[in-house]
C-alpha cells in the first residue's frame, strides 16, 4: 500500500487505508462465490518436483490437506487412514500453471461476433469497464486450458484503448458464473495499452489519439483527473462525522475510481507495450503520477531494457516466439524471455494471449529456456518453471497464495507425464485448492462446457 503523503497533501496511513476501503474496493461488488469443495488428504510420492521457488527435488513427495500444502520433499511420518496416495513414479510435479494474459471468456470459442466482448472500443479511456462482466464461463477454452495444467489466469480487456478496463483473476474451475471462478481476494488489474493499437483504432475514428504523442497526452490527462478525484475523496473521508454532515459528499465516478485504485496501490497496472523506448516512457509517466507499473505485456523489445525492468521491479510477460505481425513487433527474438530473466531480481513471465498458447504454456517456456541455453545462459527447468508459476503469481499479486509449492500455500498442483519442458509431456492430473479438477484417464474428471454438450451427436467419436 502506497501512502498518501507521497502524492497528495493528506498524510498518514490511516487515511490511506480508510480511503482504499471506501473508494477503491467499495463494498467489494460482484464478490467471489468460489469455495473449494473438500477433498481427501493427498500425498503424491516418487515425483520429480519443481517447486516454483527455484528448486528441483528428486524422488520427492508433496502432501496437501484441506486445500493447503503441508509438506514438500519428505513424506509425513504419519498419515490419516483417508489419505489418498498417488505414486507418481516417473512423473514431474509443478505448481499449477498461471497465465497472466488471457482473453478466454471475453473472446471465447466459438469466436462469433456475438461473443466479441473484449474491447469497449468506443473511447480511448474506459477504465470503468470490467472484463469480468464480459466473461462467458461456458467458453470451452477454459477446459482445454485446464488439460494443459492452467489453474489460474487473468482475463484482460483488449488493447484498443489507452485504458481498457479492469482485468480479473480467475481460478480455472468450471462454473455457471464468473463469480464462481473469481480468485478470492486477488487484486484487480488495470489494462493499459501503448503504441499502435489505440492510435490505429482512434486515429481511424478521427477522434484521436492518432499518434504515440497523443497516447501519452491521453494517459496524462486521465491521471490528472484521477489524482484530483482521489484527493477530493480522501479529503472528504478525512473529515469527522460532524464535518461530513456539513460537507458535500463527492460524486462517485467508476472510471476515476479505478484509476484512483491504481494511485493507491490497490490495482495493478498491466500495460500492453511492445517497444523498448515506449516502455521507458511509460516508466517516466508512472513516476510523474507516482504509481507503479506491475507488468509490461507482450514486450517484444523487453530484452533491450532488461536491466531497467529489473531495477524498476517490473515484470515482463512475453511470448516465446511471436513477431512481425505489426511494426512494433518487428524486433522480436526468441531469446527475449531468457534475456529479461538474466538480471538479478528480474521477473520474466511467459504469457499466452491465445486460446491455443494457454493450453501449452509449459512448451512456450520450454522454447524460451532452450533458446537461452543455446546462447550459454544455463537455465535449468527449476528456474524456467518460475516464468509460468511463481513469477506469474507475482505479476498478479497472488504469490503469497499460490504459484509455488510451499507450506501453507494453495494446493494448486499439476502432475505431468514427464518433464514438462517437452512437446510430448501432458498434464495428467490437475489439482486446484487440493481438489482434483482434471484427470486425463478419467472422463468423469474432464469438464465439458454447456456449449459443447450434445454437439455432433450423430458422429461416432
Amino acid at each position: 500500500m502506497k501512502h498518501l503523503h507521497q502524492v497528495g497533501f493528506f498524510a498518514g496511513t490511516v487515511i490511506a487505508a480508510s480511503f482504499a476501503a471506501s473508494v477503491s474496493t467499495a463494498d467489494t461488488p460482484f464478490p467471489s462465490t468460489y469455495k473449494a469443495p473438500s477433498h481427501a488428504p493427498t500425498l503424491i510420492t516418487n515425483a520429480t518436483v519443481l517447486t516454483g521457488t527455484g528448486e528441483r527435488l528428486e524422488t520427492a513427495s508433496l502432501y496437501f490437506v484441506d486445500g493447503k500444502i503441508v509438506s514438500v520433499g519428505e513424506s509425513p511420518k504419519e498419515l490419516t487412514s483417508d489419505t489418498r496416495i498417488i505414486d507418481a513414479q516417473g512423473s514431474w510435479v509443478t505448481p499449477g500453471i498461471i497465465d497472466v494474459h488471457s482473453h478466454l471468456g471475453v473472446y471465447p470459442s466459438p469466436g462469433v461476433d456475438a461473443h466479441s466482448d473484449g474491447n469497449e472500443a468506443t473511447a480511448p479511456v474506459t477504465a470503468e469497464v470490467w472484463a469480468e462482466h464480459s466473461v462467458w464461463p461456458q467458453d470451452p477454452g477454459f477446459g482445454r486450458a485446464l488439460a494443459g495444467g492452467i489453474t489460474a489466469m487473468q482475463i484482460l480487456p483488449g488493447s484498443a484503448n489507452l485504458f481498457g478496463g479492469r482485468g480479473v483473476t480467475l481460478k480455472n474451475v468450471a462454473s455457471v458464473t464468473y463469480q464462481g471462478m473469481k480468485f478470492p481476494d486477488a487484486p484487480y488489474g488495470l489494462k493499459m495499452a501503448c503504441g499502435e493499437n489505440p492510435k490505429r483504432v482512434y486515429g481511424r475514428k478521427g477522434s484521436g489519439p492518432s499518434t504515440r504523442m497523443g497516447n501519452i497526452a491521453g494517459y496524462r490527462a486521465a491521471w490528472i483527473k484521477a489524482t484530483d478525484y482521489r484527493d477530493e475523496h480522501a479529503k472528504y473521508m478525512a473529515l469527522s462525522d460532524e464535518e461530513k454532515k456539513e460537507a458535500q459528499k463527492p460524486k462517485r465516478d467508476l472510471r476515476l475510481e479505478t484509476l484512483a485504485g491504481v494511485l493507491d496501490g490497490d490495482i495493478i497496472i498491466h500495460m500492453h507495450c511492445y517497444r523498448a523506448d515506449e516502455m521507458m516512457t511509460i516508466l517516466d509517466l508512472a513516476r510523474e503520477f507516482d504509481y507503479k507499473v506491475g507488468t509490461f505485456h507482450h514486450g517484444v523489445e523487453a530484452y533491450k531494457i532488461s536491466n531497467e525492468l529489473a531495477e524498476n521491479g517490473v515484470c515482463g510477460a512475453l511470448w516465446a516466439d511471436w513477431w512481425g505481425f505489426k511494426m512494433e513487433a518487428y524486433d522480436g527474438i526468441q531469446e527475449n524471455i531468457a534475456l529479461v530473466d538474466r538480471p538479478e531480481d528480474s521477473c520474466s513471465v511467459v504469457h499466452s494471449d491465445s486460446d491455443e498458447g494457454i493450453q501449452r504454456l509449459n512448451q512456450e517456456a520450454a522454447k524460451a529456456m532452450s533458446r537461452g541455453n543455446k546462447v550459454g545462459m544455463d537455465i535449468a527447468p527449476e528456474r524456467a518453471i518460475k516464468w509460468i508459476t511463481s513469477n506469474a503469481a507475482k505479476s498478479l499479486g497472488i504469490d503469497d497464495q499460490t504459484g509455488s509449492l510451499r507450506t501453507g500455500l494453495m494446493a494448486d498442483v499439476v502432475i505431468w507425464s514427464g518433464n514438462p519442458f517437452s512437446v510430448y509431456a501432458k498434464a495428467n492430473q490437475v489439482f486446484i485448492d487440493g481438489v482434483e479438477r482434471y484427470n486425463r484417464d478419467d472422463p468423469t474428471l474432464q469438464p465439458v462446457s454447456d456449449f459443447e454438450l450434445g454437439q455432433l451427436l450423430e458422429v461416432s467419436q
Binding site: 470451452p140 511494426m327 526468441q334 531469446e335 501449452r360 520450454a366 532452450s370 512437446v423
Partner: protein, 413 residues
C-alpha cells in the same frame, strides 16, 4: 559463458551467405533419410556440387569441408507449411503485403492472379525461417474477392528470385467465413466454381466467370495442377471430395479440422490434407469437431497428412504442431515425413529424401527434430552450408553482451 563463446565461434565459422564449397562431408550423424535407406546410425553423408553422392558408414572420399556431427540427427530440410513468405514483411504494414487481391476492376474469378509475381526471396523472414531448419514452403495466395484466392506453388529457400518448384497450385476458400464474400451462403462457392468449370468448357454462355487468361490457367491447373481447398466442416469437405471426383482434379484440403469424420473417404479419394496439429477448439461452427488427434486418425486411415501452422512470420512453429500430433497418436515417422518429404511429393516437386542423386537439402538438429527444445545447428540447401545469421540473430548479438561499450548501435558485426 564458455559455452557461448564456442557457439559464437561456430556460428562465425559457418558465416557468409551460402559458404561455398564444392564438396562437403558430414560425419558421424544419425541420418533420418526419409527414403529407402531408413535411418542410419553413425553414418556419413557426402555432398558434391549440390548433390548427395554417398551415404554410409566411414565414407573415405575427400571433401573440401568436413563436419563432425557428433551423433546429431540429420533430416531433410523441413517444409514450412502454407505461408506467404516473400509476400509480406510486416502484416500490419499494408504496402508490404502482396498475398491477396480483394478488389479487381473486373468482377471475375481471377484464377490468373499469381502471387509468384510478387515474390521476393530477400525478406527478413527467409533467413529467420531457413535458420530454423526449413528449406521450402507452399507459397499461398490468401483472401481474394470471391472464392478463389489465386495461384502459387512450392518455393525453395535457396535465395533465388524464381526458385519455384512443383505444380501450379490454386487456393480456394469454401468455408463459412468466406461465404460473406460470395453473397452469404457457402453454396455460392460451388455455384461460382461450377460456373467457372462450365465457362472453361464453353458451356457458360450468359455469364463469363473467367477472363481468357484465367481460362488458360484453369485449363492447365485441371490437367497438371493442384487445387487447395480451405475447408474445416465435414460437410464442406464432403463437397470438396465430390467436386474433385466430378472434375477429375488433384485436390488437397487445408484446415480440415473435421476431416477425421471422413478419413476413409479421403483415403479412398487420394485427397491429402494439411492440418494445424494444435487445432482443438470449436473456433466456429465449422470446427465443432476439432481435436488434437485429427492428424493421427487421418494418417491411421491412410490419408496423406501434412502440416501447416497458419503462421508466416512464426512458420517455425509448425514443428510444435507436428510434435503435438505425435503426442496425440500420430506415427512418428509419418509426422516427420509430413514435415520433410510428403509436401514435395503432393505438390509435384523433386524428392526431398536424403538419397544418392538427390539435391542435398538437409538439417543438422540439436535433438529430436519434433521437440520444442530442439533447434537447427546447420542447414544445407542445395549442397551449400547456409549462413545461420538472420535479422533476429543480429539483434541477439547486439543485445546479448552485458556491456554495450559505445552503445548498442555500434555492435554491428
Amino acid at each position: 559463458m564458455k559455452k557461448m563463446t564456442v557457439l559464437l565461434a561456430l556460428a562465425a565459422g559457418l558465416q557468409g551467405i551460402n559458404a561455398s564449397a564444392d564438396s562437403l562431408r558430414i560425419n558421424n550423424a544419425t541420418i533420418m533419410t526419409m527414403g529407402s535407406m531408413g535411418t542410419l546410425e553413425a553414418a556419413d553423408i557426402l555432398i558434391e556440387d549440390g548433390e548427395i553422392t554417398a551415404i554410409g558408414s566411414d565414407l573415405s572420399e575427400d571433401a573440401d569441408r568436413v563436419i563432425d556431427a557428433n551423433g546429431a540427427i540429420i533430416t531433410p530440410a523441413m517444409f514450412a507449411g502454407a505461408t506467404t513468405t516473400g509476400l509480406v514483411e510486416v502484416n500490419a504494414v499494408r504496402e508490404s503485403v502482396d498475398s491477396s487481391v480483394s478488389e479487381t476492376p473486373l468482377n471475375k474469378l481471377h484464377v490468373e492472379f499469381d502471387v509468384r509475381r510478387a515474390y521476393s526471396p530477400l525478406s527478413s523472414l527467409h533467413a529467420i525461417t531457413r535458420t530454423e531448419g526449413f528449406g521450402y514452403t507452399l507459397l499461398a495466395a490468401t483472401g481474394g474477392q470471391y472464392s478463389i484466392a489465386g495461384v502459387g506453388s512450392l518455393v525453395d529457400f535457396d535465395g533465388g528470385f524464381d526458385s519455384f518448384s512443383g505444380d501450379d497450385t490454386i487456393f480456394i476458400d469454401v468455408d463459412g467465413y468466406a461465404s460473406r464474400k460470395v453473397g452469404g451462403s457457402r453454396a455460392a462457392h460451388w455455384m461460382l466454381l461450377e460456373g467457372a468449370m462450365a465457362d472453361l468448357d464453353g458451356r457458360a454462355s450468359e455469364q463469363e466467370y473467367l477472363t481468357q487468361a484465367g481460362r488458360d490457367v484453369l485449363k492447365r491447373l485441371k490437367s497438371d495442377g493442384v487445387f487447395v481447398f480451405a475447408a474445416n466442416r465435414a460437410a464442406d469437405i464432403k463437397q470438396v471430395i465430390g467436386f474433385a471426383d466430378e472434375h477429375d482434379i488433384n485436390a488437397v484440403i487445408v484446415g480440415a479440422r473435421e476431416a477425421w469424420m471422413l478419413a476413409d473417404e479421403l483415403a479412398d479419394s487420394d485427397i491429402a490434407v494439411m492440418v494445424n496439429g494444435l487445432d482443438n477448439l470449436p473456433a466456429d461452427f465449422d470446427s465443432l469437431g476439432s481435436r488434437l488427434d485429427n492428424a493421427a486418425l487421418l494418417s491411421n486411415a491412410g490419408v496423406t497428412v501434412m502440416f501447416t501452422s497458419d503462421e508466416t512470420h512464426n512458420a517455425r512453429k509448425i514443428r510444435q504442431g507436428a510434435g503435438t500430433a505425435v503426442a496425440y497418436g500420430m506415427d512418428y515417422d509419418l509426422a516427420l515425413q509430413a514435415m520433410t518429404t510428403t509436401p514435395a511429393e503432393v505438390f509435384g516437386s523433386r524428392s526431398r529424401a536424403l538419397a544418392v542423386g538427390n539435391s542435398a537439402d538437409l538439417v543438422v538438429w540439436s535433438g529430436d527434430p519434433l521437440e520444442v527444445t530442439s533447434y537447427a545447428t546447420a542447414v544445407v540447401i542445395e549442397g551449400e552450408l547456409t549462413s545461420m545469421e538472420s535479422r533476429q540473430s543480429k539483434l541477439l548479438e547486439r543485445y546479448l553482451p552485458e556491456n554495450a561499450g559505445m552503445g548498442r548501435a555500434y555492435i554491428n558485426r
